[in-house]
């Protein structure tokens, strides 16, 4: 096996291809966190008083949690100094932008390097793209088409101004600021994010997409996303991320809340490719995310699909509260770790309504010296008669030095429940690689093909154009990761 490991190492230890920094002028807050900073953020964003009040309440609560960061995850990292972070940074706008031509050419170049052409996206795929660079939404497209259907798709800041009644009603209704350490922090200091509202009976005709990008050295990015699907509506939302290379660790603590009413369906797909740190585990993004959706009405459905290949640390459990009878929750995940990356990710399926069903498919791929954990909770409440869950957690190992762990938690309080859990662990076989070699494929191509095949069940849940990107990303990430 030694020969194979050598090859795997060679193939997987390539440098992060998205490591570059774009030169924008930026407008930053001073380092550190106190009430003054929160007031500054709020005033920079010209927020109404009610929003500032929410922030301050959350901050007050967060202060009670200091030194009580969650420590149960299977991850190790040096203590984060929350006073050593810049909490607000916005690219300076030279003027209002009406078309792509007016966008900073530096920024467009950045997107080109990432292989994301906005133009191409607009023309070929009909994706409306709301780009968030650092913390301020720069450009929103396709807004008019969406507006005709009554769909609201804008930056969170804009929603605070334009749709305060919706923001007030739903913000914090699924993830309250008291939920956890990072949710409290996010509620206090969030700078921007996306807001989406699909009215009753409307089927959103295009994939809604936001590309997040962390751009300023030492800037924590705190996204806030809120998505509401009214009765009988449908929306598919894509979130894709890449970040430039950094030596310092950057903190990212987003909150995403989804609300699905009766017969509504939300598909939320993420491709996360933030800087994972270098081969020696230096640098990389710390990604502590709280994502949760609630199936409020009967037959509502929320489906999370994630491809996590980036970040030094991923702490993320997109969950579904199945409140409405016959509601459906799904979680499809690929988590790929390489070098010294650590991922502790999974989901929570909380069954409350009758005849609720949930499906969990998790594919972990570990390479190098990385650690990859699946952590999932399936809770069947007393009221959840005839609830069903199926979980499948597979781990694929690409080296002898990596770790794969599974932590399934099952709580059943109703005897009518049917809960199934399957788990497998396998190693990429020398036989498989040699077979591919013998057909003219390089070892790199072979591993990429085998891993993509292994992840296929999840990849096929992604919207077409995203799936292609995700496949490329898996191959790219593996180029430096299998050892």
């Amino acid at each position: 096996m030694n020969g194979q490991n050598e090859i795997l190492k060679e193939v997987t230890q390539q440098d992060y291809k998205y490591g570059f920094v774009s030169k924008f002028d930026s407008d930053k807050a001073p380092v550190g966190l106190n009430e003054g900073i929160i007031r500054l953020i709020s005033s920079k964003k010209k927020e109404p008083k009610w929003m500032l009040d929410i922030r301050l309440k959350a901050f007050k609560h967060w202060l009670t949690l200091v030194d009580k960061e969650p420590n149960w995850a299977h991850i190790k990292y040096p203590k984060i100094n929350f006073q050593d972070i810049i909490y607000y940074s916005a690219p300076k706008k030279k003027k209002k932008l009406k078309s792509l031509d007016e966008v900073d050419p530096e920024m467009l170049k950045t997107f080109e390097k990432l292989g994301i052409s906005i133009d191409e996206q607009k023309k070929l795929t009909g994706v409306a793209v709301d780009i968030v660079i650092d913390s301020v939404s720069v450009k929103t497209t396709f807004k008019e088409t969406l507006a005709k259907l009554g769909i609201i798709f804008c930056s969170f800041s804009e929603a605070v101004h334009e749709h305060p009644e919706l923001v007030k009603k739903y913000m914090g209704s699924v993830v309250p600021y008291t939920d956890n350490f990072y949710a409290a922090l996010n509620s206090a200091v969030f700078t921007d994010g996306s807001f989406c509202y699909i009215p009753k009976g409307v089927r959103c005709p295009m994939e809604l997409s936001t590309y997040f990008r962390i751009n300023e050295a030492n800037t924590g990015q705190f996204e806030r996303t809120l998505l509401i699907a009214e009765e009988g509506s449908y929306v598919s939302y894509l979130e894709g991320c890449t970040a430039p290379m950094r030596d310092e660790n950057q903190l990212h603590a987003a909150v995403v809340e989804l609300i699905a009413y009766k017969d509504a369906e939300i598909r939320y797909s993420t491709v996360q490719n933030w800087y994972p740190g270098d081969k020696n585990g230096k640098g990389g993004i710390f990604n502590f995310v709280t994502k949760r959706g609630i199936c409020k009405g009967e037959r509502s459905k929320i489906s999370w699909t994630q491809v996590e290949t980036g970040s030094a640390i991923t702490w993320k459990y997109p969950s579904v509260i199945l409140k409405g009878d016959y509601s459906v929750g799904e979680f499809y995940s690929i988590a790929l770790t390489n070098n010294y990356q650590q991922a502790d990710t999974g989901t929570k399926m909380i069954h409350i309504g009758k005849n609720t069903t949930s499906t969990i498919i998790s594919k972990g791929v570990s390479a190098g010296k990385s650690n990859n954990s699946y952590r999932g909770l399936v809770r069947i409440s007393k009221s959840a008669t005839n609830a069903r869950n199926f979980s499948q957690c597979d781990s694929l190992l690409l080296s002898d030095e990596c770790g794969a762990h599974t932590f399934p938690y099952i709580e059943i309080n109703n005897k009518s429940a049917i809960v199934e859990h399957e788990a497998t662990t396998s190693k990429v076989g020398e036989d498989q690689i040699f077979y591919c070699n013998q057909r003219g494929l390089s070892t790199e191509q072979a591993i990429s093909m085998i891993v993509n095949g292994y992840c296929k069940e999840v990849l096929k849940k992604l919207p077409m154009e995203f799936a292609v990107e995700a496949q490329k990303l898996l191959s790219l990430s593996l180029e430096g990761s299998v050892g």
């Binding site: 020969g3 494929l441 191509q445």
Partner: protein
């Protein structure tokens, strides 16, 4: 095309090939026969470049190049195809997609344009007729859940698609019923030209009823101990391996 000279190879310090000499010319079909454990499959693996085997001595010249210095994928691109005795399963990888990647890698190496989807499908269709392979197999994951016979047929189908210069069939006949055997043999015969060559590794003579070899070599204890024409295989079938191994032992002791 292929000249093997005094080839020795071992696995985990155990010598398996103990000095193989073999010359294969364009247009020829060579059969390599021998009892279990004699080194037949090791020879195939070494020629294909499997890293588990350490070549300790000897040379292999393939089309004027030092084969032993080439990476397995480069050997494949240069036209060496190994039909595996136990083809591996690769879950989630569609057979057609795999083949198209493979074919286009080889084409690129030969300075040809990659085949587009339509042309690839056309080519697949024509080759599927030759091999008589079930269409559904092509759209499934590579070898996953295939029966033994289906796997072997799929190997021959891949061979037909990739049009190798030197095809090595490693016990392709084992586990096949007579009808499947005929289909596989017909496939091999159809792709045979004056410019390519085939090495058929087999334990039994019956495959050689359908693929007529120009030469039959008997391998025993890591060496080719007897070479003859097609009739050698028949004699072997009648008299069994004991005949040849006893003869060899007698000669060695003499």
């Amino acid at each position: 095309m292929l000249t093997i000279n005094n080839l020795k190879a071992s696995v985990e310090d155990k010598e398996i090939l103990k000095g193989i000499n073999l010359e294969v010319k364009k247009g020829e079909v060579h059969a390599i026969m021998g009892p279990n454990g004699s080194g037949k499959s090791t020879l195939a693996a070494v020629l294909a470049g499997r890293s588990d085997y350490e070549v300790t001595d000897g040379t292999v010249d393939y089309l004027g190049q030092n084969l032993l210095e080439m990476a397995p994928e480069d050997r494949a691109k240069e036209g060496i195809f190994l039909a595996f005795q136990y083809p591996v399963e690769i879950p989630g990888v569609n057979t057609a997609t795999f083949l198209r990647t493979s074919l286009n890698e080889i084409r690129e190496h030969r300075g040809l344009e990659p085949l587009n989807g339509a042309d690839f499908l056309k080519l697949m269709k024509s080759k599927m007729e030759i091999i008589d392979i079930d269409k559904s197999l092509i759209s499934r994951s590579l070898n996953e859940g295939f029966s033994g016979g289906e796997k072997k047929k799929a190997e021959i189908f891949q061979m037909a698609m990739l049009e190798p210069t030197l095809a090595i069939l490693d016990e392709t006949d084992s586990g096949l019923d007579i009808d499947a055997l005929k289909v596989v043999a017909a496939g091999v015969n159809r792709m045979k030209t004056d410019d390519n060559a085939v090495i058929v590794i087999t334990h039994y003579q019956r495959l050689l009823d359908y693929i007529i070899p120009d030469f039959v070599h008997i391998i025993y204890d890591g060496q080719i101990i007897k070479t003859g024409g097609k009739e050698l295989a028949i004699t072997l079938e009648e008299k069994g391996y004991d005949w040849i191994t006893n003869e060899h032992a007698a000669l060695s002791n003499a």
